[in-house]
Symmetry: D2
Subunit: 395 residues, 4 copies
């Protein structure tokens, strides 16, 4: 195995669980920013497939710039309608030609975006959304790089990835309440919309979960029914929370409601009216926003999974951190990896591993951590494969 520049450190600081205050946020499936992330990633994956099919290799692309311009709507209990469609701009770039053949880049991108938006169940994608592709051409140099496909690709930029493991109780709770609502609860309660935002504040052992969810107006006959569903959602969230933490959890749903106004929408996402979205501004690769933790500003979703280290290093750092947390006796581990433009992606400029040992630090832990990191880097192209096949979340 190749020699790699891997630094291993032991930290002597309070773990996040030991800190008195913790803030965690998640923008759920149908949040305008998450929709943009999801579209960006769906477009990249669709292009990867097409490139592999038509060209035998993934060609250069980065489809990470997606913007949603909100539409206009008129929700009301028992009904409502979309007045002006949601507009989605697909930015970024993608290779449009290969050996003289044109790739249907715009077509594939638009189709993938529209397909992805079907995640918002009550959104009529054909009539209520306009998707426009302004994907630029990839520059020719980069196409060159990609052609040497058998070899390990070179880093496209100087960027870094960071990750930590394991998730704290609060983090896990935030992640789970949204995931479970989308996986199960919204099918039981049709009025629950996909646009859910969860904000957790933990002060010592008290967690407050502030949850906003864009309810779907036509599945709610009245304000009374709205309040009932809100109550049932609140109970469900409390149950999920209880499975993830023994701490005291208070759940607050749609706190901004007043006597006159409730948070209802026609489609279940605030993108229908007033709330624009942009890719790369929401959750990090672990699905969370965690100001108590080191974070990367990289918008991983939509970046090409072949040589974009801003994407790959965030994902591989997460894998490394997770394996270390699982196998070694640590309370917490942080992994940071820095790329250098033009350098092989499996050989970063530096990889830093910071561990809070459960008890004692040991030379064995150090060498084990180094080995785990080095193996993941050795096989970084597997990360690419997992991204392409949709096995890795990026937001």
């Amino acid at each position: 195995m190749r020699e790699r520049n891997i630094a291993v450190k032991f930290l002597r600081v309070p773990s996040v669980e030991e800190q008195e205050i913790e803030i965690v946020e998640r923008k759920g499936l149908g949040h305008p920013d998450s929709l943009c992330d999801g579209i960006a990633e769906a477009v990249s994956r669709a292009l990867c497939e097409e490139y592999k099919k038509k060209c035998g290799a993934i060609l250069h692309h980065n489809t990470d710039k997606v913007q949603i311009v909100a539409g206009r709507s008129n929700p009301e209990f028992g009904g409502g309608e979309i007045l002006s469609p949601i507009y989605v701009l697909l930015g970024g770039r993608a290779t449009r030609e290969f050996n003289g053949n044109e790739i249907a880049v715009d077509k594939i991108a638009i189709r993938a975006a529209r397909e992805y938006l079907k995640n918002v169940r009550n959104l009529d994608v054909n009539n209520d959304v306009v998707v426009e592709s302004r994907l630029g051409k990839g520059s020719s140099d980069l196409i060159e790089v990609f052609k040497r496909k058998k070899e390990v690709p070179m880093a496209n930029d100087t960027s870094f990835g960071v990750a930590h493991a394991p998730l704290s109780e609060t983090e896990r709770t935030v992640l789970e309440v949204e995931n479970r609502t989308m996986q199960y609860f919204r099918f039981r309660e049709k009025a629950v919309g996909e646009d859910m935002k969860v904000m957790a504040l933990r002060v010592k052992d008290k967690i407050t979960l502030t949850v906003g969810d864009a309810f779907v107006s036509r599945h709610l006959a009245s304000r009374e029914e709205y309040e009932e569903v809100k109550r049932r959602l609140s109970e469900f969230l409390s149950e999920v929370a209880a499975e993830n933490t023994s701490r005291n959890v208070e759940v607050l749903v749609n706190r901004a409601d007043t006597e006159e106004s409730a948070y209802i929408t026609v489609t279940g996402t605030s993108a229908e009216m007033g709330d624009d979205g942009a890719a790369g501004r929401g959750n990090r690769c672990n699905g969370l926003i965690t100001p108590n933790r080191p974070m990367s500003m990289e918008g991983a979703s939509g970046k090409n999974p072949v040589n974009h280290t801003g994407k790959l290093y965030n994902l591989v750092a997460m894998k490394i951190a997770e394996e270390i947390a699982e196998k070694l006796s640590v309370k917490e581990v942080y992994v940071k990896i820095l790329s250098e433009i033009g350098r092989r992606i499996d050989d970063p400029k530096i990889a830093i591993i910071e561990m809070l040992p459960e008890s004692e630090a040991s030379p064995n832990m150090e060498s084990e951590a180094r080995r785990i990191a080095s193996e993941w880097l050795e096989n970084i192209q597997e990360i690419s494969e997992m991204v392409i096949s949709g096995k890795l979340r990026t937001f």
Copy 2:
């Protein structure tokens, strides 16, 4: 003074200066993401002025969704030309009517964006850029909120702000090399473009500054001249670095250059070809991306400065941190503030102050920190004023 929920903690951890490894990044003035941030903020400020003039108060708006779709260009030593214009999409929303009078929202937004883009000296804003406004209407409820203008506004959302002080040597260095290049050096060397990206890696006492700058092709007769300017820029950056740190600094400029290719552009920004940009994805309010520090994901630029706590709390946290770092005997201070939707903005749900004392923690330090925080919160509307008048950086 109002009672506020302010928690003060003393940390016992190594300061960033004491940590062995540190990564810091800055996307400079002409980076596509920074251009979007700058446009977002310029549009908001222009609207604030218009609203004050026409309506006597700032009306609801958030113009924080800006996307740049790269153009196409053909740079070559001694010349080159733009082939396809840069496209700028202005998203977000703004109130369009007041007392039956229409506000020229699109017009003002486009003008402000175009004016801002003049920061890129070699960009012909009239011919090489297409700016489109798709700003939506503000919702009427929110207009209501804003009308009660004498009172302290209510928080528009549940969000948080974070900040730290003082900057580490590495952070200061990164900030300064870019600032000084833009303030002075680019006027001395016309070939230096506004799109500069600085990435610093500190390992113990060795700092590596990796700098990319989009040189301007028509001010460079040949590759030789390019190399000379690169060398002079490198020297200048080393000098600036030396003023900010006594650590050993290595400066690397345009590392991706090969024998065949150099980093030249027609305009001085990579937005002319291939590099899209988006607001809120680059620097945080202190001008930096600092994965070693707590960060907020909030895109502050373009948010309304009246009641958007995602913007205000990042800025007020910075002010509090700076004053504490200046007046109290701390190595580092972190400030985190959490809002609650519908609550007065001067009364956050919680404000957390974490200090690394120089030597001993003292009850006096705690009460002083609390007083400083409370005073800044009491006068948070001054932050709004400073934003409107352009006295506070947001990226």
Copy 3:
């Protein structure tokens, strides 16, 4: 019945049938210009319905500015695909508010446009077309005018309409070959596309029909099959022509074909690649372009059917001409009607009737013609109704 300014003239000129040379053209159902006309009219009709349902009256609108920007495609025998979608811009204006309620103008317009495009059978409207609405607001004055709904509306502009009857043999032939192909033949021969352009040149008694039709590539296994279908189409067109004229007719289909290239498309319309379209540039209200006849330049399709005299006067002139041609002993009749802005639409500034009598002109013919014209003008609001219910062709 109201006194109207109607001038009746008898012409002493050779009829078109007697002239030696005649040129007639028709842009068929799927021609990009006709698609734009069809969309413009479909949008207007959809808005009329919505206005009637929501407001009890048709509100001001003119949706006559539609532009198609061609996509990109890759047709090949047995298959082919769309590479970039067709872009459709909906221009014009429409009233967006009524009694404080917002009308879903953009939504309705986009839906109507998409629905109309389904006329192109092989076009995947959901994936291969992007429709954007940039319909402006109607100006408030005009809204005022429309509110006085029981009364006869006032003309919105100074414009005119012209028509003639009966159609010449050549005109009828051109109209019929396209109509019949779309009504019957294309269902028998799947490879026949909707984009058919017919150009007829008659020199004395010899008619040459030059026909271009965008064949559908995936319904054609090979160039041989293409040639066979072309031959069968040619035969069909000859048969239809023979039903409409006893003159000698030569039919030429897809004359621009060369050995290397044939006129095939993925969808059956040239709008998929290269051919943009615009409303108002194709057929006049009788479905034809007839340089031997007086024509109006007015783009009738998409104009509001309530008070837009540019639309109504072309249609009512056609009705008048047809009735005169049917009931009176004339070889040809031409009707021209001029409006004056602000004047009741049932009382034009002048209506001119020019007749070529079969044999003798008579005072009785004159008074009958005047009566027919006056009655149609008296009941001009019926024309509006017929337009709204789709009973009158506008292109």
Copy 4:
């Protein structure tokens, strides 16, 4: 000289001057449709220049699809402002590559459009207009055709051109009143806007000129001043009319004015608010819309001047008609020319010349007319040159 298929006929019909009723219209310089025509033609000419400079020949393009989407404005006496910018969509197609070099098609097109719009003196082209280019690629076959540059090009389509000469008194009057207002009067009276529409109705010897002009609000202190300028404009138009006809002329300016409303604008064109425009829907190549005359529906403006017979044949027909009217003893002459796709443009399928002799028809007139037509066709590439150098009006 090549044998050409030229048919010459003598007509025995009343000339237009002898007819009792005549309708003529002109959409002036700043009318939204005319602006689109002007932009379309300006873009084509700019591309011709670039192609010649960069490629040594004019490459394939047709830039005849231009649409203006109106802005929003707020005119008031003494001031007013633009609220939302005018949006201009440039459609059509143009060759983007030549010998591996990219042509700056979008850039050149946008610049030409913006430059042209400066004809509207009070329009701030930089701030009040958004111009977007969606010009498609030219198809490769056609590029092939154009490369054989020394030879006479082949017709790109089956289309026709028509023209007549001389202009009738009414036609000349309509043309002149607008031309002279733009050439002289608007510089004397700053409040006169470029958007002037002239509609003439002649009944026997009485001509009514209905003129609409978009006055410029900031050059008018009050309604009184507006009325004064209107009166002076009316006098000026009457004088110009008197120079062109001895018939009785009544001039009506801005007839739609009411006590409450006057026709004022911020910029001098109705495109600023409410009135969209499209290329090819306004004046024919002689600058007029003349329902009493044969007309072509071809939108000549923006078509390529090399082989687009829809453009060239309208222009060459006009030249032929003018020369015949000048040299031969005819009251009127009509010229119609029909192309055949793939046939040399100097050899149309048929050219038809119809003359109303002043007195007697003669074989000499016939041969002279044929000679004149044949010579113009022989030298049809001169027409191309004149178009490129801007010497021929197309609208």
